[in-house]
């Protein structure tokens, strides 16, 4: 009874109009064909006005969309045509977003492959003017500093997440959650300035140490670890905890033996992605660690070289002749991208293959 009423109020017209639309629908292949027609027209137009790929793409997409819209409006009515218009606008937006990614990967690959050789991996920049040289010192510097960062950040971040999920109550929990969120947004350069200011107060303003860089990166990494671990720990079903409590297991053992093993895959993914986030950070290292030509593997004494800073200086201060340094810069950028992408892929794979079987 009640179900019929809304239809009544809408008068008899809409259903019939809907029926008519059903009949007037164009076949499925019509729209891709129309779009293609528009694209061809656009390419032709750009060919007339002096050909360029960018203009051809813009004209083509605009005209193709327009063709679909106009025909659809004529045949199927305004509502349907608007839907088609939005579909092609949204799809175009996605394609546009792909352009920078493809362009970036292509640029870095085409310029970086040139120096991706053995020498790049096993020589430093000591005594190098012009050709040759490599990033051995910078690669190890990055690995060491990132390693220390992980050693500092993972326990703190994990314990904080455990606090937030298992222990935290009331105002302190709310404040920590909020401030972790806020901390996620700290600009990386400010984290660098913080580490610098911290050490400058005790050791004077000229201080540059690997450990300063690790502390700066920790400020950036901790909130990421907290956020991802917190999400994962929340997913551990409460039944598991309750079962452990029911068996008389104390809370801390429940966490260590039940909660953490269940969530381990997610935690590993979170940590991997967090490492991927900080491994490419440049600004804080530029301020706190500086750059050096030789190999310094001791984070507690003097400047160190790191891959991102190395890339930055090779590009912006190439010396003479510049082309060799610029090649090295691009190769360093390529290695950075490979590192970051590999970490991302590993992280996703961990969570896919080692996800807990919760039996749901």
């Amino acid at each position: 009874m009640t179900a019929t009423r809304p239809a009544d109020r809408g008068t008899a017209a809409p259903p019939t109009r809907g029926l008519v639309e059903q009949h007037r629908r164009l076949p499925r292949f019509a729209f891709p064909a129309l779009f293609l027609l528009g694209v061809l027209l656009g390419v032709a137009l750009s060919a007339v006005t002096g050909f360029s790929i960018v203009l051809a793409a813009i004209y083509g997409v605009v005209l193709g969309t327009l063709a679909v819209y106009v025909v659809s409006r004529g045949v199927e009515g305004s509502r349907k045509s608007l839907d088609r218009l939005v579909t092609s606008v949204v799809t175009t937006a996605f394609a546009v977003a792909m352009v920078p990614l493809v362009s970036l990967v292509w640029t870095v690959l085409s310029r970086g492959l040139k120096r991706l050789d053995g020498e790049f991996f096993n020589s430093s920049m000591v005594g190098i003017v012009g050709e040759g040289g490599g990033a051995y010192h910078a690669i190890f510097g990055t690995l060491i500093i990132t390693g220390i960062t992980a050693v500092i950040s993972v326990p703190i971040g994990l314990l904080t997440a455990i606090y937030l999920v298992e222990y935290g109550t009331g105002r302190l929990k709310r404040w920590i959650t909020f401030l972790v969120d806020v901390m996620t947004g700290i600009p990386s350069i400010v984290a660098g300035l913080f580490a610098f200011a911290l050490f400058a107060i005790f050791f004077g303003p000229g201080i540059r140490l690997g450990i300063m860089g690790a502390i700066a990166l920790s400020v950036l990494m901790i909130p990421v670890v907290v956020r991802s671990s917190e999400e994962v720990l929340k997913l551990v079903p409460n039944e598991l905890r309750e079962a452990a409590y029911a068996l008389g297991v104390p809370k801390w053992r429940t966490i260590v033996k039940v909660v953490l093993p269940t969530a381990i895959a997610g935690l590993a993914t979170g940590v991997t992605l967090a490492v991927a986030r900080v491994i490419g950070e440049t600004a804080p290292l530029l301020i706190t660690v500086g750059i050096i030509n030789g190999t310094n593997l001791d984070p507690f004494s003097g400047r160190m070289a790191t891959l991102p800073v190395f890339a930055y200086y090779q590009l912006t201060q190439p010396g003479f002749p510049p082309e060799y340094a610029i090649d090295r810069a691009w190769t360093a950028a390529l290695i950075l991208i490979i590192l970051v992408m590999a970490l991302n892929v590993v992280g996703r794979l961990i969570s896919r293959f080692f996800a807990p079987k919760t039996g749901r």
């Binding site: 949204v90 920078p100 904080t160 300035l193």
Partner: protein, 320 residues
């Protein structure tokens, strides 16, 4: 939740549990709480150490500050440049990010959608310095013809007054690059809220005969609005603090101008620090730290506002 918080209360009455348990629990609870409190201390520490190192620049006579016009005269153009670049990025990125999020959640084939999500997330993972490389080597040259065209045909708008930069290292290029960098952040959060729209709302709209776009307009967008706003604010926070990409791409010469396509642009706070810091000593360092403090305060305010907006939505959606 109530069950999870019950066990720590049980050890309190002395009769029930053994003393060993109490110690293990206390140590573990203590270290977890300690780690949480440490985060509060770190954030406070960031503020305190920055203030203490910036203080000499605040109290110094205005003639000693680089530029000779005092601290506010030094920082003001930098703040202007920071905001300008971030706002250009936001204006470009937000509509695009919303469209991408809609595409992935409601248009793309299901199987492809997850992969597309990963691909967009990869954009967020690329280091800032690599964006800078790409910006100066690919993006800036690609935009040069556009600048020439804009100067000729849009020159009456002050934004495009020119003279057009021959290298393309302009404020507009920096803004486009920032837009690419914050796109994945905004679209990730938009995607999340769009996919949380209750199926009942969507199905109800479709059942009433709405087209897909009408369903999105009436069910998805109203539900996701505050999430999109919050995501945009988070993107703004990232854009404000972006350092090396801008330091590499922007050819900065100081001064406040709205002209987006010429080769003299205001620098941004973060880029200015990265460019000046390695060669600075004495009061210059304090001045740069003072400008960093200003950036910290701005991003803190933006992020707090963003989180407040996003969390307000979380409370709201948790209710139904």
């Amino acid at each position: 939740m109530t069950l999870a918080s019950a066990p720590p209360e049980t050890p309190r009455p002395p009769e029930t549990p053994g003393p060993k348990r109490r110690i293990g629990d206390r140590v573990f609870a203590g270290s977890a709480t300690g780690a949480g409190v440490l985060i509060l201390l770190v954030l406070a520490g960031v503020a305190i150490f920055l203030i203490s190192e910036a203080w000499p620049a605040v109290t110094a006579p205005s003639g000693d500050i680089p530029g000779g016009e005092g601290l506010s005269g030094y920082i003001a153009p930098l703040i202007f440049g920071t905001l300008l670049a971030a706002i250009i990025a936001l204006v470009i990125a937000t509509p695009l990010a919303v469209a991408i999020a809609l595409y992935i959640t409601y248009y793309a084939p299901r199987r492809l959608a997850t992969v597309m999500g990963y691909v967009i997330d990869l954009l967020a993972a690329i280091p800032s310095v690599v964006y800078g490389f790409w910006g100066i080597a690919a993006l800036a040259p690609a935009l040069v013809p556009f600048y020439a065209w804009a100067e000729e045909h849009l020159g009456f708008i002050p934004l495009f007054a020119g003279p057009a930069s021959p290298t393309g290292r302009t404020m507009f290029t920096a803004g486009v690059m920032l837009a690419v960098m914050i796109l994945p952040i905004i679209s990730a959060i938009s995607r999340e809220v769009f996919s949380q729209v209750p199926a009942l709302h969507r199905e109800a709209a479709l059942a009433l005969g709405a087209t897909r776009w009408e369903m999105i307009r009436m069910a998805v967008l109203p539900y996701g609005k505050s999430g999109v706003i919050g995501g945009a604010m988070l993107g703004l926070g990232r854009a404000l603090g972006e350092t090396l990409a801008i330091a590499i791409v922007l050819s900065a010469s100081g001064g406040i101008t709205f002209n987006l396509i010429s080769s003299s642009n205001p620098s941004t706070i973060a880029a200015n620090i990265a460019l000046q810091f390695p060669e600075s000593t004495g009061l210059d360092v304090n001045t740069l730290i003072a400008s960093g403090l200003a950036l910290f305060v701005i991003t803190l305010a933006v992020n707090m506002l963003a989180r407040w907006i996003v969390n307000r939505r979380a409370d709201f959606s948790g209710a139904n």
